[in-house]
């Protein structure tokens, strides 16, 4: 009995310790942002691996999600004779929810895990320690550029996802199922608000970008420096990011669209 309680207490303490470490790490990261402005090419290099190489998966998923939305929306709306509203349904669900959320989930799997593995391996092979020996702050040189690249990339990827998704829905709805193209666009334009929908969607993806990048670089930096530790950290990045994204999405939606 006491052993169980002891175990529980130890786990609890470890959890809060980790949480504290993660926030101290974030603070350190924010302090490392100002020297980064003079070395912005580091961010550009990271954006190439984090952002540019995620474009393909985002575009492909966006097209298919949009096409499925178009198909499902058409069938459901058809029951009410409201096929004309297909554009509104697709655009609102993409811009408000699916764009930011699905992009963030894909991003966590595609780029977040890679960030964790990369930083974790650097730690395991003592490259980070080596930098510190040379009086180079690894957070400034290695972690911060990756973090910033993630934060910048995710909103851009989410925008690409939503835009491509709308086009996919247009292809299915207007091209294949015969919804009127004029009604598709005009109803969409009259119902989707720039600030209310699009702005909040961008804010959402920015928050997700912050959280996913933070989790990814923290897990890498904090991992046990063994091959098993790196693999654990990579798994944790994907799982924690997904949970954080979905939980935060509810909170943000409740705050924004009540």
């Amino acid at each position: 009995m006491t052993a169980v309680l002891q175990q529980l207490g130890r786990r609890g303490l470890r959890f809060f310790q980790r949480l504290g470490r993660a926030h101290l790490f974030l603070w350190h990261l924010i302090l490392a942002l100002s020297p980064l402005t003079s070395r912005f090419h580091l961010v550009v290099v990271q954006m190439a691996s984090v952002g540019v190489r995620s474009v393909l998966i985002i575009v492909v998923s966006g097209v298919f999600v949009g096409m499925v939305l178009g198909l499902q929306g058409y069938n459901t709306l058809g029951d009410f004779g409201a096929e004309q509203s297909l554009g509104v349904v697709v655009a609102l669900s993409l811009v408000r929810e699916l764009g930011p959320v699905v992009t963030a989930l894909l991003f966590a799997g595609r780029a977040g895990s890679a960030l964790t593995a990369e930083i974790g391996l650097m730690k395991a092979t003592e490259q980070l320690d080596g930098m510190e020996m040379m009086a180079v702050d690894p957070i400034e040189r290695v972690v911060a550029p990756r973090f910033v690249a993630g934060v910048i990339s995710l909103p851009l990827l989410a925008a690409v996802f939503s835009a491509v998704g709308v086009l996919g829905a247009y292809f299915v709805g207007v091209g294949l199922l015969g919804v009127d193209a004029g009604a598709f666009w005009s109803q969409m334009q009259s119902k989707v608000d720039v600030l209310e929908d699009l702005g909040n969607g961008v804010i959402k993806s920015l928050v997700f970008g912050l959280v996913v990048s933070w989790i990814a670089v923290f897990e890498g930096y904090d991992c046990v420096p063994t091959s098993a530790g790196v693999s654990d950290a990579t798994t944790r990045t994907v799982v924690h990011s997904a949970l954080a994204i979905l939980g935060l999405d509810f909170v943000l939606t409740a705050l924004m669209f009540n």
């Binding site: 090419h41 550009v44 290099v45 954006m47 190439a48 952002g51 540019v52 474009v55 009410f80 004779g81 409201a82 655009a91 811009v95 910048i152 990339s153 909103p155 851009l156 990827l157 925008a159 690409v160 939503s162 835009a163 491509v164 709308v166 666009w185 969409m188 334009q189 009259s190 119902k191 989707v192 608000d193 720039v194 929908d197 699009l198 961008v202």
Partner: protein, 158 residues
């Protein structure tokens, strides 16, 4: 930095594509292009009941959109709803006795204000008020009246 040229081009293209997607969403998907046509003149219309009319609902004339509802407020003195309509400045020849009615697009569609031109020679100007209005049809009331009249018929037959 020899290797970085292609890389920089790639990142540049990526950022450009992201911004272009945002721009397309703003211009093509959302209402930004219709918000910006802000200049015009405003007229007021009083209704007993505005139903589900909302700010930014369309104002049409002969089926063509000529403006938008800019504001809906409640008049404490007369217990009426006051809708402020923003009419595009190219539509400046609305007769003074134009009437306004609240219609619904389709059975489940959104509500909008339809303007019907009158015959007077003067034109509505900024700040004027439309005197002839017809309120929104509240579906529950219509059904209630229908049931009531049906019940009346039923008694008549006996």
């Amino acid at each position: 930095m020899v290797h970085s040229k292609r890389l920089e081009i790639g990142v540049g293209l990526f950022v450009a594509a992201g911004l272009a997607a945002l721009f397309m969403l703003a211009m093509k998907v959302s209402n930004l292009s219709t918000v910006m046509e802000g200049d015009g003149y405003t007229i007021k219309a009083r209704f007993d009941n505005v139903g589900a009319l909302k700010v930014r609902s369309p104002v049409t004339m002969a089926g063509v959109r000529v403006g938008r509802v800019a504001d809906i407020s409640f008049d404490n003195q007369t217990y009426e709803a006051v809708a402020t309509l923003n009419i595009g400045k190219q539509y400046d020849r609305l007769p003074k006795d134009t009437s306004a009615s609240i219609f619904t697009t389709g059975l489940l569609g959104e509500q909008y204000i339809g303007l019907e031109p009158g015959g007077e020679s003067g034109y509505l100007a900024d700040g004027d008020e439309i005197r002839l209005t017809q309120s929104a049809i509240v579906l529950e009331q219509v059904i209630g009246q229908f049931l009531y009249s049906k019940a009346g018929e039923g008694f008549g037959e006996r």
